[in-house]
């Protein structure tokens, strides 16, 4: 037998480990800051760059793509070559991947605080960064698949399937959801509008959770849990079954984020059914992880690494049970738009992703430095701090979400809303917001224990740059495809395997999309729904820049409690010119879809200048810079042209006159404000935003008045 010598490069793993820890601190710190802003809005220090709206996407992106992303790459760059018995395909590609990814993160941070955003959750980055992400992702894919192809181990272990599924699905999701037409270097409009845009976005959003936060971590679980426990996974058969079921079903479930919205009913139901089915493969994975420790639970008692992993897998089980339950329409009606959802995602993020990453790091770093962990005690302390934080976080937000939702829906015996003032329901849960921010702080302090522990571990040992290994060369043997051995055949063929996995995820996408695109031509364009005026369009982009949709939905659901509070429920035909849709997913403030005409221009002016002047106790930050900054009207013609390309029926050549109309409308608003005693020039940004807010949802109102 021909024995070949090769080595595993640990330096790239160390780089990713370092980035993981660094971004963990940044992402979680921003999380604590915005959690505090929710009861102490002045924490933005009066700066536009640090408002809740701009920092919230920074928090989500930093945690998901920076902290969790780097943890995934660290885990893969260590486990993949060892499972393949080959060094990584290319050291250079590994470095390009690493530095490319960190560049993206830095660009993301800079653009997001500057208000450069597409407004689509977890996909906020603008088009040049989207292209960069695509390139770096391809580099990662080449490096991974290249390694798999030149492997010395005949079969691909289950962890590798999860890595492969992650790579291809994230690629598909990212490209489909990022189809947009550039307006300027830092601004674009998505190809889709309204209902379609919402469907595509939540197909993306849901599957980003599935294929960035779940499948790669299941892959890591299948490698690092057996390693830490020093025993094989409970059932390899179960892993095959739950892998295929998971990647097949997950992709269908996206519409459950849009229950009771203007999305067609059949798509909502499809989302619900597949979400319920999803419990089975998800729990298959969880049980496989937990049962690996059967008969060895005594080891969990004194091994902090296993403790982290057990809680991580349990949190995964809880989150994947809760998800399908929230997809039931009656449960969703109660808890959507509330803090319950925030709790749900944090059980996943803090428990599953956070704890599995920590467990992996505590196992990995001693290996990289050829030593053992500096302090088990500190690791235990970290574990208990983290667990306490998760419990505090989850319970306070569950309570807040349920309490607020019940208040929204409470009627008096006379049949009128008991809490007609939205703010009343917010002030009720402020104590829960305080508990939540303390929980975040505790979780973060645990990470500092981790850093100290890992630094001391590194000091204790010496870094092993390369680990040398040897294995027999892989002998190519001819085996024909036989029924009964299909999967074994497949596991030797990464390319065919990848193709089949791609087909599995695409089937769901197509079945979900085709009818929706057919619907497009059939959505009755409500005659009274007209494109936005140039001023409203510019105002809408300010709404997007300030990420108002982080806290305000634009989707009145067809419930009496909502039509009483907000007005007529939202119709699909009202959003046909909305590139992008701005339905939102959380109501920290009230819904705004029927905001138009509810209050005077003066009210909006004073409210944006200082929300507490109009709503005492409001937790919305003031936006004084809108009164000072001039609206950039140089982009108006290009914006109109792009909208025309997207099918919005502005008259031909309108881009040449758009700015004249814009000025006229702006002057009428500033005149109105002047009559009410406020002197403001028409070219200020606030005028455009007021124009947009006053337009919201009025198309249908006009029709009713007729």
């Amino acid at each position: 037998m021909n024995i070949e010598k090769f080595s595993y490069d640990n330096r790239i793993v160390r780089l990713f480990v370092f980035a993981t820890v660094l971004w963990a601190i940044v992402g979680m710190l921003v999380g604590v800051i915005i959690a505090t802003q929710l009861y102490f809005p002045a924490l933005n220090l009066g700066l536009q760059y640090t408002t809740f709206g701009r920092l919230r996407p920074l928090h989500t992106n930093a945690v998901i793509f920076a902290f969790v992303g780097n943890a995934i790459f660290a885990g893969i760059y260590y486990s993949l070559p060892r499972l393949c018995k080959a060094s990584m395909f290319s050291k250079a590609l590994g470095r390009i991947h690493f530095w490319g990814w960190q560049t993206i993160i830095v660009l993301a941070a800079v653009t997001l605080v500057s208000g450069i955003t597409t407004s689509k959750e977890y996909s906020e980055l603008e088009w040049p960064i989207d292209i960069l992400i695509t390139l770096v992702w391809v580099v990662f894919g080449i490096n991974m698949i290249g390694t798999i192809i030149k492997r010395r181990e005949k079969h691909m272990y289950v962890a590798i399937w999860f890595y492969l599924a992650t790579f291809i699905t994230v690629a598909v999701l990212h490209i489909v959801n990022s189809l947009e037409i550039p307006v300027t270097l830092l601004k674009s409009y998505p190809l889709y509008a309204g209902v379609q845009d919402a469907l595509v976005q939540w197909w993306y959003g849901h599957n980003a959770v599935a294929f960035f936060l779940t499948t790669p971590f299941l892959g890591l679980m299948y490698y690092y849990l057996p390693k830490a426990a020093n025993r094989p996974i409970y059932s390899y058969r179960l892993s095959i079954l739950h892998f295929w079921a998971l990647i097949f079903i997950y992709i269908w479930a996206g519409p459950h984020h849009l229950l009771y919205t203007s999305l067609p009913d059949w798509a909502q139901s499809l989302g619900t059914v597949f979400s319920l089915m999803l419990i089975a493969p998800s729990w298959g994975g969880m049980l496989n992880g937990l049962l690996t420790l059967r008969g060895a639970w005594d080891r969990v008692r004194d091994n902090p690494i296993l403790k982290f992993m057990v809680v991580a897998v349990t949190a995964y089980g809880m989150a994947t049970f809760e998800g399908p339950m929230l997809s039931l329409k009656n449960v969703n009606a109660l808890l959507h738009y509330t803090d319950w959802i925030v709790s749900h995602v944090h059980v996943g993020a803090l428990g599953w992703n956070g704890f599995l990453s920590f467990g992996m790091l505590y196992w990995l770093v001693p290996k990289l430095f050829g030593t053992e962990l500096y302090s088990k005690k500190l690791a235990n302390a970290h574990f208990w701090l983290g667990t306490l934080a998760i419990v505090m976080y989850a319970s306070s937000m569950y309570w807040a979400g349920l309490a607020q939702s019940l208040m929204w829906k409470q009627f008096t015996p006379l049949g009128i809303l008991q809490y007609p003032n939205f703010l009343e329901t917010v002030l009720q849960i402020v104590p829960m917001y305080i508990i939540r921010s303390v929980a975040g702080l505790i979780y973060l302090s645990g990470v500092f224990l981790l850093i100290y522990n890992l630094l001391m571990t590194a000091k204790l040992g010496t870094f092993i740059n390369e680990e040398f290994a040897e294995a027999p060369a892989l002998i190519k043997e001819k085996d024909s495809l036989r029924i009964g051995l299909i999967h074994r055949w497949l596991e030797k063929r990464p390319i065919q395997f990848t193709l089949l996995a791609t087909v599995a995820i695409l089937v769901g996408g197509f079945v979900e999309f085709v009818p929706t695109f057919l619907v497009k031509s059939n959505v009755p364009t409500i005659a009274s729904v007209k494109p936005y005026t140039p001023l409203e369009l510019q105002g809408r982009d300010i709404y997007i820049r300030e990420a108002c949709n982080s806290c305000h939905s634009q989707m009145v659901r067809p419930f009496r409690s909502e039509t009483e509070r907000y007005g007529e429920y939202s119709k699909a035909g009202e959003f046909v010119y909305d590139h992008p849709f701005l339905w939102g997913s959380k109501r920290t403030g009230p819904d705004l879809h029927r905001e138009g005409g509810k209050y005077s221009n003066l009210w909006h002016y004073l409210h944006l200048e200082n929300p507490r002047s109009m709503s005492p106790g409001s937790i919305m930050p003031p936006y004084p810079w809108l009164l000072k900054q001039d609206l950039n009207t140089s982009t108006t013609p290009k914006k109109i042209t792009v909208m025309q390309t997207l099918g919005v029926p502005y008259e031909k050549g309108y881009e040449n006159f758009a700015n004249d109309d814009l000025m006229k409308q702006a002057e009428s608003i500033s005149d109105d404000l002047l009559n009410n005693g406020v002197i403001i020039e028409p070219q200020k940004e606030i005028i455009a935003l007021i124009a947009y807010l006053q337009r919201l949802g009025t198309d249908i109102k006009t029709k009713n008045n007729n």
Binding site: P232, D265, L270, I464, F468
Partner: protein, 67 residues
């Protein structure tokens, strides 16, 4: 409202049905295959991450005993 406008699309109900017809046979196929898979093969696969061929790899040292 939507059932009306969807009925304009020929055979829209076929889509959820297609989805079930693709998923179920695949799922059943995997169940059958998995249940019949060879024991030696499964055991080899299970132990893949635990195999240790590298010379200076300390991964197999027993964490508990050292501490």
């Amino acid at each position: 409202m939507f059932s009306n406008l969807l009925s304009n699309i020929d055979g829209v109900y076929i889509y959820p049905v297609i989805s079930m017809f693709i998923f179920l046979p695949m799922f059943i196929g995997i169940v059958i295959w998995v249940s019949r898979a060879d024991k030696n093969y499964i055991s080899k696969m299970e132990n893949l991450p635990l195999e240790n061929l590298s010379k200076n790899n300390l991964s197999e040292f027993d964490y508990e005993n050292k501490k």
